[in-house]
């Protein structure tokens, strides 16, 4: 496989990893039995003028355990404000087939994991997808399909997008922008050399911690082992970063205690978006995937979760024909 093919495979894999990580994080929030997962953040903007309908239905009926049976529904978003939606995710609150089967109930528990955010791709409109339990083979329709599509519309709140111009020129220095500081966000763009430096610092810290623990009291073997394990984990994390980051990717060191960052994007000086292929999160670092070299004049957009930039699109569909 050529280096470029490996890169593409890596990009696809990392996109999958991001989705998995996102779903995993959200599932923790949904741990309370029976309670629907809370939207994050609360959608407070005015409802966008967008209609939600069913796009594609995929009913995987299988005797296999993995991947198991599942009903996947991809929603179609249409309407006046649709072009402003950059990401969307759907949450179904009611889904029943015409035999009375509740499709929110799975063998694993009462509630499925919330769907991940779907980005507007080349088609320009996100197509959020939900996975439900498999309907009965005897069912012909879904009698009820209700829920909410959460939409992220950054253009509704210009203050919610912080732009860092000529971002490559600011590598390896902390970015002290008041708009980020106000949210408690610390951000730094790392060059490969900067990442190498971070790795060295982690190794030095690991050695120092190990030496410190050795000088400590006898019988503190457990602590020593723990410190070593932490040090190893840190070193491994940097190894993963090095392995994962491609030559063209943008590496960011992110400290976002309030989880205020929604996403990152790159734009050309004229404001046109530069195509990225997802983001990989590794501990406090994020890798923004790009196939082509980033132009020197490119700006980084930090999109924040502000109430105004979210909108909710409730839907209540009936008699949805099953394939």
């Amino acid at each position: 496989m050529t280096h470029r093919l490996q890169r593409i495979a890596g990009v696809l894999l990392s996109v999958a990893l991001v989705s998995a990580a996102s779903a995993s994080a959200q599932s923790k929030k949904a741990a309370k039995k029976g309670a629907p997962p809370p939207p994050e953040p609360a959608a407070q903007g005015a409802p966008p003028k967008v209609q939600v309908s069913v796009g594609t239905i995929f009913d995987r009926r299988t005797t296999r355990d993995f991947p198991g049976p599942e009903l996947s529904i991809t929603f179609k978003l249409e309407g006046e404000d649709v072009a402003a939606i950059q990401s969307a995710r759907a949450r179904v609150t009611k889904a029943t087939d015409d035999t009375g089967r509740d499709l929110l109930v799975t063998s694993g528990g009462p509630q499925r994991e919330p769907a991940s955010w779907d980005e507007a791709g080349e088609a320009g409109v996100p197509t959020p997808k939900v996975d439900l339990a498999s309907p009965s083979r005897k069912a012909k329709t879904l009698t009820a399909l209700e829920g909410v599509v959460e939409a992220y519309l950054p253009s509704r709140d210009p203050a919610g997008t912080v732009t860092i111009e000529s971002v490559l020129a600011k590598a390896d220095k902390p970015l002290t922008l008041p708009a980020l500081v106000a949210h408690g966000i610390k951000l730094q763009v790392l060059s490969k050399a900067g990442l190498e430096n971070e790795k060295k610092q982690a190794e030095v810290k690991k050695k120092a911690d190990a030496a410190k623990k050795k000088k400590g009291k006898k019988g503190a073997d457990g602590l020593e082992e723990m410190a070593e394990a932490i040090g190893d984990a840190l070193t491994n994390m940097f190894e993963r970063l090095f392995m994962s980051a491609g030559d063209n990717d943008l590496i960011l060191k992110v400290d976002d205690p309030g989880k205020k960052i929604f996403s990152f994007g790159l734009v050309a000086p004229d404001g046109s978006p530069i195509q990225t292929y997802g983001t990989t999160n590794i501990e406090g670092y994020r890798i923004v995937r790009i196939l082509e070299p980033i132009p020197k004049t490119a700006s980084l957009q930090v999109r924040l979760k502000t109430p105004k930039s979210f909108g909710e699109l409730p839907f209540a569909l009936a008699n949805v024909k099953l394939p």
Binding site: I57, F58, P69, R137, P323
Partner: protein, 295 residues
């Protein structure tokens, strides 16, 4: 029957008994059933994975599943010969290989509960016929010239080891033009936008240079209209294997360009080992699945 007559018939009896004996005791059961139902009719379908056990299954190196009929219990026909016959090539097989062999059919009706399938499974068992293995020594010294042998000729197979220059030239010559892709897409009823995406994908893959040969690549052109070639391997002069971690090909049975990427550069006296399917190496097992319950 006289002793002389018995002796005369003995080879014939052995010849007939081999495949018959090998077919005995092979049990074919359903391992899994998957019915993928999609609102867009072009996708989806029913897949039944098969588990083969007993008899000579452990010796089989490839197989082909041929469906004769398939229908659900409400009368829908799930197999259309004109659509599916083109797909029936042999696939590599070993008892622990995954995914399992299977049949791919049209989706049954939603209100159907079972399906019946009939057909046959052809097992390729090379140990039944030594002529399945054809070895061609020193093929690297005769690049760009077809290798010859009566077994290949009898199977209507033509294999030409290629130099990198000739491989690239034939690759360029065989690559479908945009117009051909457009015409084929339209013939199959694919929307223009999707055809355009396919063309873009082809251009992108070509630009990536993934098909570029390396010094460890063995390059071949194969004409095999009846799909008789099961595999092509490269071995050292002493017969030991030269591992090939990756293989690539373009084209079909009529004309195929192949690139076998070896772990190491092949020595000049390396041999090409062509495994051919012969009538004697095939064992046919009936496939008769009744009332397979749909999930």
């Amino acid at each position: 029957m006289s002793l002389r007559c018995q002796r005369a018939l003995a080879p014939l009896v052995l010849f007939l008994a081999g495949p018959l004996f090998a077919a005995e005791g092979v049990a074919v059961t359903v391992a899994s059933v998957e019915d993928q139902r999609v609102t867009e009719n072009r996708f989806g379908g029913l897949t039944i994975e098969l588990l083969l056990k007993g008899g000579s299954v452990a010796e089989a190196k490839a197989l082909r599943v041929k469906v004769k009929s398939a229908k659900d219990n409400v009368g829908s026909v799930l197999y259309k010969p004109e659509r599916d016959d083109k797909q029936g090539g042999f696939e590599e097989f070993s008892p622990d290989r995954r995914p399992l062999p299977g049949v791919r059919l049209l989706s049954p009706r939603r209100d159907a509960s079972t399906v019946d399938v009939t057909g046959e499974i052809e097992l390729f068992i090379p140990s039944l016929d030594p002529n399945t293995k054809q070895r061609f020594d020193g093929f690297l010294k005769r690049l760009d010239t077809p290798i010859a042998g009566p077994a290949l000729k009898g199977a209507k197979v033509e294999i030409t080891p290629l130099s990198a220059k000739e491989y690239k030239a034939r690759q360029l010559k065989n690559r479908p033009t945009k117009e051909q892709i457009m015409a084929e897409g339209k013939k199959q009823g694919v929307p223009d936008a999707e055809i355009q995406k396919a063309i873009e994908l082809m251009d992108a893959l070509a630009a990536l240079g993934g098909e570029e040969p390396s010094p460890t690549s063995i390059l071949l052109e194969a004409k095999d209209p009846d799909g008789r070639v099961i595999s092509i391997d490269v071995v050292k002069a002493d017969g030991s294997e030269l591992r090939a971690p990756s293989r690539g090909f373009s084209g079909g049975h009529e004309l195929k360009l192949m690139k076998i990427d070896l772990e190491e550069k092949a020595p000049a006296d390396a041999a090409l080992l062509v495994t051919l399917r012969t009538p004697k190496s095939l064992v046919t097992i009936p496939l008769n699945l009744k009332e397979v319950v749909l999930p």
